[in-house]
Symmetry: C2
Subunit: 267 residues, 2 copies
Amino acid sequence: MKTKEGMDQKGLARRRMLITTGAVAAGAALTQLGGWLNSAEAKGGSTEKWPWPYEKLDPAKTAEIAYNEWYRVFCGAAVISSVFSQLREKVGEPYKSFPADAFVFLEGGQVGWGTICGSPAGANIVANLIIGPRIAGAHEGHQIAADIMQWYSEAKMPVFAPAVAKQPTKIVTTVSDSPLCHLSVGKWMKASGYELASPERKDRCARVAASTAYHLVELLNDWKDGKYESSSDFTCAKEFGLTGQYNCNECHGDKVPAPPKGKGKGA
Amino acid sequence: MKTKEGMDQKGLARRRMLITTGAVAAGAALTQLGGWLNSAEAKGGSTEKWPWPYEKLDPAKTAEIAYNEWYRVFCGAAVISSVFSQLREKVGEPYKSFPADAFVFLEGGQVGWGTICGSPAGANIVANLIIGPRIAGAHEGHQIAADIMQWYSEAKMPVFAPAVAKQPTKIVTTVSDSPLCHLSVGKWMKASGYELASPERKDRCARVAASTAYHLVELLNDWKDGKYESSSDFTCAKEFGLTGQYNCNECHGDKVPAPPKGKGKGA
């Protein structure tokens, strides 16, 4: 199902279901009480306070900004800029002082190394800058990052279509089953036949940044309204004893190594 | 070869060799001329200027801070904090205002998803915040990030040993051949036999953060002295037509897919 903005509603519907069946997260309620969360004593006198003041944004407008910003600063910085450029105008500091453009290097899974796609990497930065880290007593930044990682992996990307596309070609969608740039871009290239340097591939990645910015703002708006609840249902360390994804076989085939068990003082 | 601080000198020696055989990078010279680099017009009025004022730091002292900070904020934020906590005292702003603790979420390859290890992710952030993005005319932040990714993948980790270790066990070292947390931690767990939750594995990751902070400061100090030259010799997109690592066979076996060629307006 698509809205008129072209956003897949599956994730949203699923999250709403979770909200109706579960209590509002205690942490979400806590951060909505209006006070700053004091950081654990920051090293060297930094004044780190959370949450940053947040005003609800329009997901579709944010996605349009991210789409166009991709062509200036690429995926990661485009997602950060799409949210922070609006909050600079609506709120001012600390958004005005935050150097979003420095995150251009998130492109290509960090300077082309194909690790985490810049779009979820940028979204995770935004959520954790606004809400704060779990060591400061806030947990929704961490949870939104986990939601973004799983949603990104499972979505038929790109899910957002810009009002005026720079490449009008009807676009192939693919499921990456991974937050890694190498897999997300590689699977799309295989399905579409377009090479990395093509304008079509670039426009696909601009739309992926836009899609991620759209979903990020949905989650942040829910958090602001005190109705955010995490939708991610996967923790690799708990399930498999190692950090990672949910689809071990895709790289390991039938021979998935078993992490060691029982050695170590904490075991 | 190890120094008394326990740092492997291979990378350093190799880089020095490159410096003697090559010209000082034009970009490095440019940013050392003292002027701010003006960003490409930042969205929404942000005043983004580079480079940030940088004072040379002691690599071994920085590594000690990163090692201890790991136990407060984990890998990514520990690397950021190890550099910025010192620059807050030596320089002041903009380091005082930068919310380093928000980057706790880099832990476990971003909230446990095993993507890029937080240590190189944090180092890349530091280098690009200080030097600025390539769209602002500076290229050394991008280059240092590429150096960090390759050095991290090839190093026998951990290469740094703290003066007073929290876990005195003689530590196994492993080569990850990847900047991914899943592979870096997984290979070390396999070689050492320690499980993820063990204090020994945690201490290994604290030492990896310390090792990365050490090398990052070596590169930043070279940059400050105008003698930085990139040592990385790999660009996956150029060599293989897709973002990624250098060791395709490790995941793909003998069946490495060939990226599409020739389709797309830019092809």
